[in-house]
Symmetry: C2
Amino acid sequence: MADTLTKPNCRPLEPGSVCVHCGLRPLSVCAALDIGELQQLEMVAHVHCLTAKATLFSQDEPAQFVYNVTAGTVRLYKLLPDGRRQIVGFALPGDFLGLALADRYGFSADAIEPVTACRFSREAFTGLVDRKPHLLRRLHEFATHELSLAHDQMVILGRRNAAERVGSFLIGLRDRWARLHGHSSVHVPLPMSRQDIADFLGLTIETVSRTLNRLAREKTIVIVPDGVRILNVARIEALSEV
Amino acid sequence: MADTLTKPNCRPLEPGSVCVHCGLRPLSVCAALDIGELQQLEMVAHVHCLTAKATLFSQDEPAQFVYNVTAGTVRLYKLLPDGRRQIVGFALPGDFLGLALADRYGFSADAIEPVTACRFSREAFTGLVDRKPHLLRRLHEFATHELSLAHDQMVILGRRNAAERVGSFLIGLRDRWARLHGHSSVHVPLPMSRQDIADFLGLTIETVSRTLNRLAREKTIVIVPDGVRILNVARIEALSEV
DNA sequence: CGTTGAGTTGACCATCGTCAACAGGAGTGG
DNA sequence: CCACTCCTGTTGACGATGGTCAACTCAACG
């Protein structure tokens, strides 16, 4: 799968054919729709481009829109009153934001790097969902998949030590990139900061840094400018073992 | 709401009227169905009674059935190869098991106390779901609600200390019992063991015991035979503050 | 060339885990 | 009826993992 799929692209495109030609379609919720339905969807869609650090939406705010991420990485997080942050997930291209179709957002979302996303008014989208059971079925599949990932993350947060958390994180991201690119690679891009990784894994930035560099010192990984390269796949997979 | 709703009851009932008279219906997925549909559901239902410690299903095993818990408490958990356990949730009356409608179970489930559950063959149930978009919509609501609870639990596991975890747990259970009984109470039944609480909160049994007894010593709660009674609601709510 | 922000590293420390002993109730068998 | 075991929960002593605080490097940027 070409890299253009996951790189931002905000050039205007000829109306009525954007969704049909979208390379991410088979991986996104849109796969549930036929060509006619795609055109209905496109009529209520708006291609939205965000710069790094831009906010898509904030927790508890009225949920005016739902989103389909088409390029870049989004961090999803909850804040405690005293400022502690827990990242509940990273949304990659193909991921849908607003699965709950609820009145208010359950978490905050902002762009880690330049992001493009198809934005739909929640009202229009839920209208479409109500008329298209196949789309609802697809949303439900996405929701239960997210639930399963959340359960895995609960195991990581509740029962694994720092090295295991970092290992599981790398393997988890590797597999998600593999799905997106159509093939697995030992090169794992990490668009998020050490602080983001720490807030996802329930650790501190220092522990993440130490753990990654320990893995590098023992030749399990190499730290490269935009992420890591896995040298000893078996070792990392053992750390992340279910 | 009467307590009979949540107490096991395995007497045979006259066919065709069980679901219609089920007091849990408004709280369960069945609320999406009209009387005719309920009778269709009942035809593929089987009231299942389990003793304490009985297994409903195990992780990775083919998902032959889905369940509606009608009485008792079920623990849902994942195991690591070395035996570490993470409880990903407790299912109370009204909760649905098998939301994913997937080929295999994503976690194991067993009865903490005597449990009754309506059991459906997954095949028959998914057939009904495919014919009834309202039921699918209801399942989706349940799934996104579970996802939201999972996100809350991720915050607890990733970013909260022992006292906050225990406090959040008590408030969370209090609110779930309140929903079930129709009114809130300072009496919070704890049908699960200290070990279960520990494995849910990412702590050890000793830390759970110490934390509960510290709360009792400072007169925030009283430990009673079947759970706790909250004396200082404000204190516990402050601990569990979002 | 100075500033800023991300990341790294070291020294120290607190929280929670580990290990061990013990209490008390339920169930069992003599 | 009592002695015994078993199981759950409690409590104390100690230690390790990961957090805190601080200093430092380095690249990007004005």
